[in-house]
Amino acid sequence: MKKILEIFLGILTAMGGFVEIGELVFSVNAGARFRYSLLWVVVLGTIGIITYGEMAGRIAAVTGQPVFAVIRERAGYAAGLGTLMAAMVLSVLTCAAEVGGIALLLKFLFGGNYFLLIVGTVVLFLLVVWFLSFQAIERVFGLLGLMMLVFAAAAVYVRPDWGEVASGLIPNIPPLDDSKEYLVYAYFAVGLMSSIMLPYETYFYAAGAIEDGWNPGDIRLNRVITIIGFGLGAILALSLLIIGAAFFNPLQIELSLPETAALAPALHFGKWGLILALLGMFFAFGGAAIENGLTGAYNLAHFFGWPWGKYRPPENASRFTLSWMVMFIVAAAIVMTGVDPVQVVEYSIIFSVVILPLSYFPILMAARDNDYMYPYANGWLADILGWSYLIVISVAALFAIPLLIMTHGGKG
C-alpha cells in the first residue's frame, strides 16, 4: 500500500512539476502563432525527456551516480568542465527567470513593488530549502503545481477544433506566408522541444533519486514515474498550446507576460479560474526555481566530488549548501537589473539546446554499458530511442543559435 501511494505521489509530483515559465510562454505562443501545427513537437519532446529521465534515474538507482559524475567520468575532465560551466550559467538564468516570473505573479495577486517582491521571493525560497526536506519540497511544489490543471480544463472549454488537434499531433509543416515564417516555425519547434527536455530536469531527477535513497529495487518505480508522470505532464503543455491556438490566435495576442495566459481560465471559470491559474503558476515556477537553484549546487558537488545532499546537515555539506544559496542570490541579482524574465528564459531555453547533446551523450553511454549497469543496462528500445534522440538534439543544437539570430528571437 505504501509503495502504491509512493508511486501515485511520484506521478502527481512529476506531472505538477512539468511546466515552468519558459515552457508556458513557448507553448502558448507556439499555438498563438502556428495554431495546432506544433503539437507534435510536445509529443516528440515528451518521449525524449521520458527516455533520458528514465536512463538518468536508472543509473542513479543502480550505481548511486548522479549525472555530472557520469559526465565527468565518460566525457573527461575538460569536456565535463565545459558542460558544467554552461549548465551552471543556464541553471542560474532559468532560476532568475522563474524568480522574476514569481515576483510578477505576486504583483498580480497582491500588488506591491516588483523589486521588493523579488527579494521576498528569494528569502522565501532560501527558508523553504533550508527548513524543508527534499521530499517535502518536491511534494509541496509538485502537488500544488497541479492547480495548473485549470489550464487543461480551459483547453476543453475554448472549444478547439479536435480534427485540427489530431492533425497537429502528426509531424507536419503548415503552409505559411513567406520563407521567414518557416524559420520562425523551426525556431519554435526547437525552442518547444528544448523547453520540455531542459537538461536540468534530468540532473535534478537523478539527484533526487539518490536523495530518496533509490536502489535497483526502485527501477520499476522510476519507469512508472517517468512514463506516466512526464506523460501526464505533457497534457498540460498540450493544453497550453491548444489555448494559444483556440483562444489567443483569433485575438492576435502573443504573450509578453506569462500571467496573460490566465485570461483563458478566467473566461470560463471566472475569478476562481483566474486565481487557480495564478496560484498554479506560482507553485510550478517556484518548483522550477528551487530545482534550478539546487541543480546548480548538485552539479558542482557531483563534478568536484564534494559531500552533498539535502539529507545531510548543512555543516556536513557546507560547500553544497553555500552553492545553492549563492545560486538564488545571483538569480535575484540578475532580475533586479530590470531585465525581462520572459526574454531571459527564452534565451536560456535556446542555449540549453546546445548543451543537450553534451549532457545526454554520456548518460546514454553509461546506461547502455553492460559492465557498468549489469543487469540493468539499456534494452533495445531504450537504445533505439536514445540514439534517435541524440541525433535529433544534435541537429537542433547546430541550428538553435542561427535560428535565434535569424528570426530575431522568434519575432519574425
Binding site: 573527461g76 575538460a78 496573460t260 485570461l263 473566461l267 530575431h408
Partner: protein, 158 residues
C-alpha cells in the same frame, strides 16, 4: 606538460578555452552592434506586432474585467505593465534612426503607440470610460495589423 588530477592535459583545457573565446566575442559583438544600427522593415514590423498584441490584450482585459471575470488587482497590475511595455516601445521608435523606405510606417507606429500609451494611462483612473477605451484598443489592433502587413510586403520585396 601539466596534468590535472584526473590525468587531463591542462593544454587541452586551454585549447578548448581558446576555441570557445572567439565564439563568445562574436556573440557579444553581434548583440552590441544591434544597438547601434538603423531600424529596418523587420524591426519596425516586430515593434508593430508587439504593439498589436499589447492593444489586443488591453481590449480583452477590459472586456473580461467588465464581465467581472478578473480581480481588480490583476486588471490594474496588467494595465500598469502593459503601459510600461508600450511606453518603452514608443521611446525606442521615437529615438531610433530608420531606413528611408519605412519612415511613414515608423511614424504611424510611433503615433499609434503614443495613443495606446494614452489609453492605458487613462485606465489608471477609476472613472475612465472603459467602453470607449475598449473600442479604441480594438481599432488600434486593426491598424497595427495593417502596418505589419505593409512592412512584411516591404521586407519581402527588399
Amino acid at each position: 606538460m601539466t596534468r590535472m588530477r584526473d590525468g587531463t592535459d591542462t593544454s587541452e583545457v586551454w585549447i578548448q578555452g581558446a576555441l570557445a573565446a572567439p565564439v563568445l566575442v562574436l556573440i557579444v559583438a553581434a548583440i552590441a552592434s544591434s544597438f547601434f544600427r538603423e531600424l529596418g522593415p523587420d524591426d519596425v514590423k516586430i515593434a508593430a506586432s508587439d504593439l498589436r498584441s499589447a492593444s489586443s490584450t488591453t481590449r480583452q482585459l477590459l472586456e473580461q474585467y467588465q464581465r467581472g471575470e478578473l480581480t481588480k488587482r490583476y486588471y490594474a497590475a496588467h494595465i500598469h505593465l502593459l503601459e510600461d511595455e508600450v511606453s518603452a516601445q514608443y521611446n525606442a521608435l521615437n529615438t531610433a534612426s530608420v531606413d528611408d523606405t519605412i519612415r511613414n510606417e515608423q511614424a504611424e507606429t510611433r503615433d499609434l503607440a503614443a495613443r495606446l500609451d494614452d489609453v492605458l494611462k487613462r485606465l489608471d483612473d477609476e472613472t475612465a470610460d472603459l467602453d470607449s477605451s475598449r473600442m479604441d484598443a480594438l481599432q488600434m489592433t486593426r491598424k497595427f495589423a495593417t502596418i505589419e502587413e505593409r512592412l512584411r510586403m516591404k521586407a519581402q520585396s527588399q
